[in-house]
């Protein structure tokens, strides 16, 4: 469904993404891991159409994503790392606005809003100002805003940063529901246990390159020699090193 082929992005002399390829299939959760500055967010931005790759391609069902107005962008939903919501407006006003960006008619939009709010458990707070929400509620609404146009592929850029365990668990449940509905999820995070719980496959990037891409079991071959099965974090550190990145 989603295929990223050898994308590269530079900013002047800085090579943000050297060469990254990955794919996400329907009903699959792919964890995208990497240290700070490894190129995860730039890769997600290229897939979402926020950044144009210097070379390489982003393909949806085999067709390259081309330009800002490409209808194929409707197949993608972006859940930004930031809480991309208007605190001054109600949840309902936020969702009406973000849904209208995808040209949803009134009835379709209201149905999509109701469905999204129900999924993330915020139906009762629909008319409340987002500024009054807790961090966890905002994270859930951030997810709901990306689902209004019923995308096939969801790009989740650290969607659980700063939330309590209850909200995190609720978000995981939401994502598992979406996976069960056949959505493909590309999930970037620094929390290894999240990937261990959710991901079918893991792509680890460092210095703008893919250093490993496999299932959780398959990644065990990257475990340090002479050890038995190890945690994903041990494999991650073995592949990317222990040197501080920022």
């Amino acid at each position: 469904m989603l295929e990223v082929r050898s994308v590269r992005k530079t900013y002047g002399d800085l090579v943000a993404v050297h060469d990254v390829s990955l794919s996400v299939r329907p009903g699959e959760v792919v964890g995208l891991l990497g240290p700070n500055g490894a190129g995860k967010s730039t890769t997600v931005s290229m897939i979402a159409g926020l950044v144009t790759p210097d070379s390489g391609q982003v393909l949806i069902d085999g067709a390259p994503l081309q330009g800002d107005t490409d209808p194929k962008k409707r197949r993608i939903g972006l859940v930004p790392q930031d809480l991309a919501l208007y605190d001054e407006l109600s949840a309902l006003q936020n969702l009406r606005f973000f849904g209208a960006l995808y040209d949803l008619g009134n009835q379709a939009l209201e149905e999509a809003i109701a469905s999204s709010l129900q999924l993330v458990g915020l139906t009762e707070r629909a008319k409340d100002r987002v500024g009054t929400f807790s961090g966890g509620m905002k994270r859930r609404l951030n997810l709901a805003a990306s689902l209004l146009h019923d995308p096939d592929i969801l790009l989740l850029d650290e969607p659980t940063v700063g939330v309590d365990p209850q909200s995190r668990n609720a978000i995981f449940s939401n994502l598992e529901t979406l996976k069960a509905r056949g959505k493909g999820l590309l999930y970037t995070t620094h929390y290894m246990e999240e990937v261990e719980r959710l991901a079918d496959r893991v792509v680890i990037v460092d210095h703008g390159r893919v250093v490993a891409s496999d299932t959780l079991e398959g990644l065990q071959r990257h475990a340090p020699a002479g050890t038995g099965p190890v945690s994903l974090e041990a494999i991650f550190l073995a592949l990317t090193g222990r040197r501080l990145r920022d």
Partner: protein, 434 residues
């Protein structure tokens, strides 16, 4: 695409009205400040002229000096005090008096003699507040009239004139002129002597009551008929029309800063990522922003001018379509200026500071605070590159000047030109990639 643009406009209007500070700054502040400036530039609404506080220190106490004091006291331009010299000096120093006129001892006598001979003219000393140099010129001009009236009245009808004629009669022989000329000169002076001996004829309406007849002297040989010229019928100058245009534009440009900084904040908060991930063209995104900015700007102008019309009687004496055209193009110019701010700015805080300075310069040079005709000639020419100047001129033309639709065309075209320039620069410089 249209649905998305309309949604952006609706969202920005919702954000605008939920921000109480923005609403107050955009709607109430211009009204308050424009009312203040308008009251200054409109003058008194009762038709009474603001009087200049002056003092006359009469050290002469002659008929001439008393005539000057009386004339000045009755003048509509002045309120006249009579302090001592030291008091007058102190009051000018503290700004309580604009000008103090010192009439020195012997002034009347010397002025009378100088009136005919032109020699040995006595001096009047004017002590003035340097911050009121404009009024000094006016005081000098009005005072000249009263001095001339008083001196000439005394010389033609007063005791001093009689004494001068007597002195002249006594000195005719000493002139050494031929006898025939001496005789004619004596006849002339004796006729003048008889003139002084005849009581002055009472003026019309004053004969019966026995009041003193007015002293005759030189007076202004003309009267001034003043007529304010505007193009429209019944169009009269209303200082509020100018001040509401100026302040409306100033706060409209401040609103454009909010528009630009708002875009930067949306970027900072990650909202721009969500907008950019939707299948929308860059033109649509900027068009949505420019449209909402223009609408808010138009709303600001409408509320400001509406208040001015209801409370201060400001009227569109010129073309109403012309007024709307100027308002719409001004709003478009301001909105695209906001986009330009967003494209050039980096951080919201830093951008707001620099943009505020730019706006203040623009409105100051555009004649929004004080009319541009007060500027030096070179500055009046130089400020044609300031868009606010065209906006102010356009609104002036459509309101109190009462000009027709054609007078709105040039300001509107220039404003559209600025809008196009700002829009193109904004698109070219806008940082699209995250």
């Amino acid at each position: 695409m249209m649905r998305a643009i309309l949604a952006m406009i609706r969202k920005d209007l919702q954000l605008f009205f939920t921000d109480r500070r923005a609403v107050i700054m955009s709607l109430v502040a211009p009204i308050a400040i424009a009312s203040f400036f308008g009251s200054i530039f409109s003058g008194s609404t009762s038709g009474e002229r603001a009087k200049i506080p002056i003092a006359i220190v009469d050290q002469d106490q002659s008929a001439v000096s008393k005539g000057i004091v009386a004339g000045a006291t009755g003048d509509a331009w002045f309120t006249v005090a009579s302090p001592t010299l030291d008091e007058a000096r102190e009051r000018v120093k503290t700004g309580a008096l604009t000008v103090a006129v010192i009439i020195p001892s012997g002034f009347g006598d010397a002025a009378g003699r100088a009136f005919f001979s032109g020699q040995a003219r006595p001096s009047l000393t004017l002590l003035y507040d340097p911050s009121h140099s404009t009024e000094l010129g006016l005081v000098r001009g009005v005072l000249t009239e009263h001095v001339m009236q008083s001196v000439s009245a005394e010389m033609f009808t007063g005791e001093q004139g009689r004494v001068l004629v007597d002195e002249s009669l006594a000195q005719v022989e000493a002139l050494g002129a031929p006898d025939e000329q001496q005789t004619r000169l004596r006849d002339l002076l004796r006729s003048a002597r008889k003139f002084y001996d005849v009581p002055a004829a009472p003026a019309a309406g004053q004969a019966a009551d026995g009041a003193a007849a007015p002293r005759r002297g030189l007076s202004m040989p003309y009267a001034v008929a003043e007529e304010a010229i505007t193009a429209g019928n019944n169009a009269t100058y209303n200082g509020y029309a100018h001040s509401f245009a100026g302040m409306g534009i100033q706060f409209l440009l401040f609103a454009s800063i909010d528009l630009g900084v708002g875009i930067l904040l949306e970027r900072q908060r990650g909202l721009w990522k969500r907008l950019r991930s939707a299948p929308l063209s860059r033109t649509s995104l900027l068009l949505g922003k420019a449209s909402s900015g223009s609408l808010i700007a138009l709303l600001t102008l409408a509320v400001s001018f509406g208040f001015a019309m209801l409370v201060f009687g400001v009227r569109v004496h010129g073309s109403l379509p012309g007024f709307v055209l100027v308002a719409v193009t001004t709003a478009m110019m301001a909105a695209t200026f906001g986009l330009l701010i967003a494209s050039l700015g980096k951080t919201p805080g830093g951008t707001r500071g620099v943009a505020s300075l730019a706006v203040l310069l623009m409105v100051m040079l555009g004649g929004a605070w004080v009319p541009s005709f007060i500027f030096p000639a070179w500055l009046q020419t130089a400020t044609v590159v300031v868009p606010a100047r065209w906006a102010v001129d356009g609104f002036d033309a459509m309101t109190w000047r009462g000009l027709g639709f054609q007078a709105a065309l040039l300001p509107a075209v220039v404003m559209l030109g600025f809008a196009l320039l700002f829009g193109v620069l904004a698109v070219a410089r806008f940082r699209w990639e995250e």
